[in-house]
Amino acid sequence: MRVGLDIGSTTIKCVVLGEHDELLYSTYERHYSHILEKAQELLRRIDAEQLHGCKALLSISGSAGMGLADSCGVPFVQEVFSTRVAVKRFMPKTDCVIELGGEDAKILFLTNGTEVRMNGSCAGGTGAFIDQMATLLKMSADEMNKAAEQAQRTYTIASRCGVFAKSDVQPLINQGARTEDIAASIYKAVVNQTIAGLAQGRPIKGNILYLGGPLTFSTVLRKSFDEALNVTGTCPENSLLYVALGAALYADKEFVLTEVAAALDRYAATATYASEPPLFASKEEYETFHARHMSHSVPRVAFSAHCGPVHIGIDSGSTTVKLVVVDEKSQILYTNYQPNLGNPLPLIREQLLKIYKEHPGLQVASVTTTGYGEELVKNAFRCDYGLVETVAHFTAAKYFMPDVDFIIDIGGQDMKCFKIEDGAISNIFLNEACSSGCGSFLQTFAQALGYDVKEFAALGLFADRPVDLGSRCTVFMNSSVKQAQKDGASIENISAGLSISVVKNALYKVIRASSPEELGRKIVVQGGTFYNEAVLRAFEKEMGVEVIRPDIAGLMGAYGAALYGLRQSHKNNQTTSAMMDEQELESFAQQVVSVKCGGCGNHCQLTVNTFADGRKFISGNRCDKPVTGKSEDNSLNLYAYKQQLLASYKPVPGKRGSIGIPLCLGFYELLPFWYAFWTSLGFAVHTSPVSTRGLYLAGQATIPSDTACFPAKLSHGHIKALSQMQLDAIFYPCLTYNVDEGLGDNHYNCPVVAYYPEVLAGNCPELEGKKFIYDYVGIHRPKDFVHKMAKEVLPKYFGGISEREVQAAADAAYAEYEAHMAKIRVKGSEIIDEARRQGKRIIVLAGRPYHVDPEVNHGIDHLITRHGAAVVTEDSISNRVQKFPTSVLNQWTYHSRLYAAAKYCTTQKDMDLVQLVSFGCGVDAITTDETREILQRGNKLYTQLKIDEITNLGAVNIRLRSLFAALDERDEAAAEKAE
């Protein structure tokens, strides 16, 4: 008999095959990380029930099985290989296998050259991802599938990794989108993720086999794959067991299973993993720690009829709703904290009604909302004030420590830290989309391991050797945990390790502090996650300082909002809130519809909340058009102007034919140059359409490296679009060097901008048989440029173009480029002057030329103008400073402009810089630090916005509002000083 054991990241599977490969026994169980015990138990069970002490051929497979197999001398089979063995035996006609596991996604091409693809280290898990999303929707995986069947539409959810998708899903929940639609969107995201990440240009067709848990259990997922691939795949019998079946077929060594089980005991004894010191050395140490933190509390008084006017603060967070009622002396009368169950409004209504009912005649003086759902809640119930959550937290922290200089808040989904200098927020750190999921991550993890989160956290307090899990994205942590489990780490040590890693993530990933002194010594920690004493302890240990954790750590946003309302109502002499009265609340109803806006080409997915009294609240919009009905005012937006300039280059029919230019990456700046060049030579220059989501999706299957930056990945879509336009040639040159503007030590392009055409040529099948011109060209040497183009490049593709013609074309090209840049600078000056005349702030939205692409910047420029500031670009002001020394090698043309723009900002009172950074941009790891240093030396705030294909602007908005709030506060302080 043959036995195959498949130990995956979440489940353990085992099969026993008879002489003719018939299935005698199989099992599929969750192992809750008790891999070793479960494996032993299984081996013994099979021995007792099936083998009765006889020997059997055995091999082990699965991502968590490797070390285990090694230790007991049983042959290990790589799981994809194992799948292949089984498929060849049981489903020999298969062309392609798609297998999704707990944390892996694999595509296996069987015909025409065997190839196996597994998800990259960034793409994260899929089964675990679906579980996480289901948890987020408060459903089981089954329920989510059922819900998805009822979907009417789908939303765009980033398909890169689970954490990204999560930050798309959460706002949808908060905005009240239908759960059914979200569920279906999640499955669609999984499909996109798998295809984008794994197909890498190879078409998936023929007989498709679906394997693994998620594809077996979810009909909608299978249907989504069918639709996306335009195939009808099959999910075979025993689709969960293929890896185990393959392992059994592959087995060629005999073992007595009970002996193998016994050998595993030895493995448990020898396993090691990297560990950290325990959180507490002794029980006493813990007791002192506990007592110290219990002492930081807000006075609470009874909520009676004599409490006077009250102020209500509501913090509608990403996963929870918090509500605090205070009296005129800032004392707490009532608090409420609960999960938002996907829709905060009914919960808040219930709470408010409860307050009205229990306290008839209560005088509500103010109601202030904050958090992710601030706008929605404020509009729904006609609250008085809305406050950006960062300021709310700062207000609350000051209550506990008036001279606080650092606040860190770790909530369910987000992490916020701010530094305070001179009584104003001087620096804000929000977790980038890639390291979010702090608190909810712990929760999901606890659940995955079969624990309640509180119970799980407490386990870690007295762990003897906490696992060292590193400080990266949570998806990586999944595999680190897997490794630790394999090495025999106990649940206690894993729990402690996770708590420590949350802290390390905050310190080294989000804040990137190198020493505690740098952050300040007066620290207030807050957010629900700090109720977890293991996290709190880990934070103090890592920082080497005792911090204050208020007893209302999880309610600080709401408390801060209430305090703000208290102050504002006094300032405005307001004694009664405008909030709905009891009757209105009673009849309050909300209806949510999702529609596609037709106002412009963006086609935003709008979520429209309609309330019982007929008022509407619209979210998901990138501009004010669906709300006000008016077109956007772009007079103070240089990004919009740049887009207009580029759109004005229309093809002019020429004698020599037509040339296509993809409007991506470097062309966002060099289009004028090349347009003039080719037009002068007699070619009609057609550009690819402006980027859209659809254009990206059309090209995503040919992306070979899923961790390249989004602007680069978008170019596949542009090439696809051009290839369908019946052009004589497509032109996209490789440019090692860019123009030299004399601002840096060299004038390179980054490797991606420089050489991406090579990738397109190598991976886009639609270019086959097309004239794709991607020669290496040096526009930085105008004289040689003419010569090289005329003698070496052009003759390869077109006959009869004389050097004189090329000279004329080059002259036109350089002139057009200069004129284009001059226009931008002139317009920049106009905008700056006009903004100053109107007394508006000026934001330098600094990035690369291709950040002008609306699909890349997601309309952040409009977001800024809607906040009443003017937007200019880095290249419109970079010529205003001379070359200056930097502490890094200043060798890229685009980046030199960043430094110059930052430098210029430090000389302008009303000008501040916001840097756009594309996820995956390696070069920006260097430029962001340098830009920050330049600004901070000039006493300016630094704001960085990380962008990717992610479309949610919620976090960006918080950042911008915090920036504006901090700037206002700075100005007020300066004005006070002046007085």
Binding site: Q483, E758, P885, A925, D929
Partner: protein
């Protein structure tokens, strides 16, 4: 605002111990002798462990590439160890001067030193591009010649060792031979000998003969080539001891030599002239330099094949390999060289390839992962797996992927698909191994 950092002054040559990060172990061991011969006091760092990566994470932007994190972490860990007199310690780091962010390592290191409380430690740059002209550490002609000799010797020792070790009858014989030759070459270098092209050409056959004399039993083994970003390709610290892992899986490994990278860097300077114009003198100069290297290289390769070993083609042939796949203009990071090495390996019978890069390595999006499809189209037997390295990528995942590649390789080894015609290299006298692996 002017940015000040301590310079490595000429006087420090006498007073300071220079710490060198470890990358290509054998080559760097030899280079230590070359530096000592030139009057520098230096020490090759061997410290590893989790503190290295942790310190890197703490003091360097976390999105910076893994090699920078590790190299800087390794320096800081060494400085923290208390083993060194901080007033008399300097650091040496390589700088390529290309369009990749690696040229910025030195600046990141200086920033990190200030943050970590070692602002007084001077950093010297090892480069061939004339960066940091005001430093007391300069690539003088004698030093350059010695370094080049060390790289040749080191490459040869590695190439031969890797072809012998998997088959040796007595475990460790090949490694001992490497040690013996390093000691011998080191003595010669310290005495100011052994680095001229005449001496090298004389020594190469002696080395080859010694390795050929090690008793071996040749059995079919999976042959794996390793290419990648230069640091994670060579450094055991960077690639989780990839070589050891592959050997533990019963493979013969092939790491294309470090000299290829030197030649590639020199070649690119000339290629810039070809593509974009500029000073002809640069092109003439680099051509001369490459010709000189070529004569030494060919002597080395001949010594290898004469002794019955496999040797790749010389650089001048390598340059021809990427034709139709990638342009020679792609010169950032490992550029076209990486693609060329993959093709060379496939043609040379090392069709199972690990392409190692730091997570998010920009050039490798292009020349590594971006070219795999094209190479596969030309050579359907190419079995390439890209592996990403970063502080949190776990070994189990990396090894899992490699094992998958090896599983396909082993299957082919056991059931050779069809006999491929021998390539020119094999006919030219390589040692055809038993069983076609392709």
């Amino acid at each position: 605002m002017e940015y000040h950092y301590p310079k490595f002054t000429p006087e420090m040559k006498k007073t300071h111990t220079i710490l060198i990060p470890n990358m290509a172990v054998t080559q760097f061991r030899l280079m230590e002798y070359a530096l000592r011969c030139e009057g520098y006091k230096c020490e090759l760092l061997g410290n590893c462990g989790s503190a290295v990566a942790q310190l890197g994470l703490k003091y360097v932007h976390n999105d910076t590439c893994y090699p920078a994190l590790l190299v800087i972490g390794q320096f800081l860990d060494a400085l923290n160890s208390g083993k060194y007199d901080l007033e008399h310690t300097a650091l040496l780091i390589t700088q390529t001067g290309g369009g990749c962010r690696a040229s910025n390592y030195i600046h990141l290191l200086r920033k990190a030193l200030v943050k970590a409380g070692y602002p007084q430690i001077p950093v010297a740059s090892l480069n061939f591009s004339g960066l940091e002209k005001d430093s007391g550490f300069q690539m003088t002609l004698p030093l350059a010649r010695k370094c080049i000799a060390c790289i040749f010797y080191g490459d040869m020792l590695c190439a031969l060792r890797n072809q012998v070790a998997p088959y040796e009858n007595e475990k460790g014989a090949a490694d001992r031979m490497v040690d013996r030759w390093i000691a011998r070459l080191g003595r010669a270098l310290l005495a100011g000998k052994g680095f001229t092209s005449r001496e090298m050409k004389h020594t190469f056959p002696l080395i080859a003969k010694d390795f050929a004399a090690i008793p071996v039993t040749r059995v079919p083994k999976v042959k794996v080539g390793v290419v990648g970003e230069i640091y994670v390709k060579y450094s055991p610290l960077g690639n989780n001891d990839l070589q050891k892992f592959l050997e533990s899986q019963d493979c013969e490994v092939n790491f294309p030599g470090l000299m290829g990278f030197v030649q590639y860097c020199a070649f690119n300077m000339g290629e810039d002239h070809v593509l974009y114009g500029g000073k002809l003198a640069v092109k003439v100069g680099t051509d001369q330099f490459l010709n000189w290297l070529d004569s030494v290289e060919r002597a080395m390769l001949k010594a290898e094949t004469d002794a019955g070993f496999y040797a790749p083609g010389p650089f001048k042939e390598l340059v021809e390999k990427p034709k139709g796949v990638i342009s020679l203009g792609a010169k950032m990071g490992e550029g076209w060289l990486l693609t060329a090495e993959m093709i060379e390996l496939v043609q040379g019978g090392y069709g199972n390839i690990v392409c190692a890069q730091p997570f998010g390595c920009l050039p490798n999006h292009i020349v590594g992962k971006g070219m795999v499809n094209k190479i596969r189209a030309l050579y359907p037997s190419a079995n390439i797996t890209p592996i990403d390295y970063d502080p949190s990528a776990t070994r189990v995942n990396q090894e899992n992927r490699i094992k998958l590649m090896l599983a396909v390789a082993k299957e082919r080894l056991n059931a050779p698909v069809e006999a491929q015609p021998l390539t020119a290299e094999q006919l030219a006298g390589g040692a055809p191994q038993v069983g076609a692996t392709v």
